[in-house]
């Protein structure tokens, strides 16, 4: 097996605390995945007091996060010794055996969560036992993670040395957490302002506007929407504030302050107005006769499209705008052919094009993506643009990636019933395809098959194994060979790949690991594409033969 040793690779820009930060990142990802997979809302509807205890646990997690964040901020602000230790690399080495314990405890916690959060009969019969087991699983998992970072003694000495920051973290963190309850009322207040602005905008377009402030209902005589608190625009303001804050901090040396700070209130105002326009557009789509699209894909995707468009525009302003960028240089009109395409664009452009088009076509659909062929055309066009760069990668046929692809197919087939109770329940495809002439249905299926077996594997392998797995090792990732292996990049790139598969994150993560292994043998990205295409092709074939469309869609 061809294996690249990390020691043989120069790592001038990898900070000494990178493994420790990666572990924190892993914990954040796990918490994110758990919060997505399990909704504790059902527990609060259960009469058992133990169910209420379990149902209130997310508040404890939020309190702990607030305390931890404030403690870290105070430690950084005080320029404490621990920050200096982090920078200098005087840290305990990661203890891998506790990571294994953490993984086992996490799986146990997930298994117990399914019983508790699902309010299954076992939990209803013995709520105290299951709640305590659930808490034990969570605490054990977190404890093992902490022990992987350092022994108990180190943690105790850390707390002793950071007593002032810890006390400040507890006090201020609690205040921040408690202030959240007070600000919940702001969501309703902002929704009323949004309601008024949407009404004003609608009056500019339609002669008759239907409005019921008591129910927060607004629209036209043909289509109306209820402005609930989550439509107030608060989430958009939060997302853009977080995004811009992180960007301003990460690239503070490239920006001109305090001018760049103006982007924060501007961003909040712009995204709030854009949210009102989104609601107006939704009402317009529904009024035009496309009610299913307005209630379906448009309602779901328009928010993300708006946020991404605004966020990327702000990035353009920060990179190019002379007012915000510290060293903005006038754009060169003539770029040498050899420098026209950078490696990041080469590896990420197909994935970006595919995902962005999926968002757009998804916004114009109502459950069934009739416009899927557009994704295929856009992705194929972008791949064609960079065909010379891709041709330079290794593309040799081999049995090895086919075998790994077959293993990926078996993993998917085995795990799917575990993560979704009715994997074959998708009846959207047969119903939609039977509603059109057979040749159109065949053409759509053909486009879907080519997209699933050719363009998607190519775009995803370029992004996750070609770019991300190497970028996690080194900033100038193109200096590393394809297939370079470190445990952190292997696990992190696979977990992120899995996260892109939504509720199927577990088979997605394992499949990502298998595709990475396929590439590692010969250092050939083509092997990953072959393995990925094999898995997808077999899943599509299996779905066609058995009618279990849920496996493919």
């Amino acid at each position: 097996m061809k294996a690249y040793r990390l020691s043989a690779v120069a790592r001038p820009d990898l900070p000494p605390y990178a493994p420790h930060v990666s572990l924190v990142f892993l914990l954040v990802l796990e918490m994110f995945g758990l919060s997505m997979a399990f909704d504790t809302q059902r527990l609060t509807d259960n009469p058992s007091s133990w169910a209420h205890v379990a149902g209130s646990s997310p508040q404890l997690v939020r309190l702990a996060i607030a305390m931890a964040c404030v403690t870290v901020l105070f430690a950084i602000a005080r320029q404490s010794a621990v920050v200096a230790r982090l920078s200098s690399g005087e840290l305990e080495p990661i203890r891998a055996r506790y990571l294994g314990v953490h993984a086992v405890c996490l799986l146990l916690f997930v298994a117990i969560s399914q019983v508790v959060v699902g309010v299954q009969p076992a939990f209803v019969n013995h709520p105290a036992l299951w709640t305590l087991a659930w808490a034990g699983g969570g605490v054990s998992s977190l404890g093992a993670w902490a022990l992987a970072l350092g022994p108990v003694g180190s943690w105790l000495s850390l707390v002793r040395s950071q007593r002032a920051s810890a006390i400040a973290g507890v006090v201020v963190g609690t205040l921040v957490w408690a202030s959240g309850f007070a600000t919940e009322r702001l969501w309703v207040a902002l929704a009323r302002v949004t309601f008024a602005v949407v009404g004003w905008m609608l009056h500019l377009i339609y002669p008759v506007v239907r409005s019921d402030p008591s129910r927060m209902l607004i629209g036209t005589p043909h289509f109306a929407a209820v402005i609930t608190p989550q439509c107030s625009g608060y989430e958009g303001i939060g997302l853009i504030t977080v995004f811009l804050s992180v960007y301003l901090w990460l690239f503070r040396r490239e920006l001109r302050f305090p001018g760049a700070l103006l982007l924060l209130p501007i961003g909040a105002a712009v995204i709030w107005i854009a949210n009102a326009m989104r609601i107006v557009a939704l009402i317009a789509v529904g009024t035009a006769g496309w009610k299913a699209i307005a209630q379906g894909g448009f309602h779901s995707q328009a928010g993300w499209i708006t946020f991404n468009a605004i966020a990327l525009t702000f990035v353009a302003l920060m990179v190019r705008g002379r007012y915000f960028a510290a060293n903005a240089s006038p754009r060169s009109r003539t770029v040498p052919a050899a420098r026209r395409h950078d490696a990041t664009t080469v590896f990420l452009a197909p994935f970006f094009a595919l995902s962005a088009t999926a968002m757009l076509t998804g916004a114009l659909s109502s459950g069934f993506d009739w416009l899927y062929p557009v994704r295929l055309v856009v992705a194929a066009a972008v791949i064609w643009m960079f065909k010379r760069q891709y041709a330079a990668l290794t593309w040799k046929w081999s049995w090895w990636p086919l075998a790994i692809g077959f293993a990926g197919f078996l993993v998917w087939l085995t795990l799917l019933p575990l993560v979704t109770p009715t994997p074959a329940a998708n009846t959207t495809w047969p119903i939609a395809l039977r509603s059109i002439p057979w040749y159109w249905a065949a053409a759509w299926l053909l486009a879907r098959a080519i997209g699933y077996v050719v363009t998607a594997p190519l775009a995803e392998e370029l992004a996750f194994r070609g770019f991300l797995a190497r970028r996690l090792v080194r900033t100038d990732f193109d200096a590393l060979p394809i297939g370079v292996f470190t445990w952190v990049s292997f696990v992190a790139s696979s977990v992120i790949f899995g996260a892109f598969h939504g509720r199927l994150w577990l088979p997605g993560t394992i499949a990502g690991m298998l595709f990475a292994l396929a590439i590692q043998r010969r250092g050939a990205l083509g092997d990953g594409v072959q393995a990925h295409a094999t898995t997808n092709g077999l899943l599509a074939l299996y779905a066609c033969l058995t009618g279990q469309w849920g496996l493919w869609s």
Binding site: G180, F181, T241, P258, S300, V319, T345, G502
Partner: protein
């Protein structure tokens, strides 16, 4: 008022805005959740954003 002083004032207000809005938005944990915050839409949205930022910055550096 000189533009520098005005900017400094705006900067202070920007920091105040962050201080006020971040706890409200991030820690408020309202009972409501927007429909777009399901797993797949969230990862796709963040994926497009991350890829877009990386591509944009890489191209800006190259040019």
């Amino acid at each position: 008022m000189r533009s520098g002083q005005w900017l400094a004032g705006a900067g202070v207000w920007a920091v105040v805005l962050i201080a006020v809005s971040l706890p409200a938005v991030l820690v408020a944990s309202p009972a409501v959740t927007a429909p777009e915050l399901d797993g797949t839409s969230l990862t796709t949205g963040l994926g497009v954003l991350a890829a877009g930022v990386l591509i944009f910055r890489a191209r800006a550096r190259r040019n």
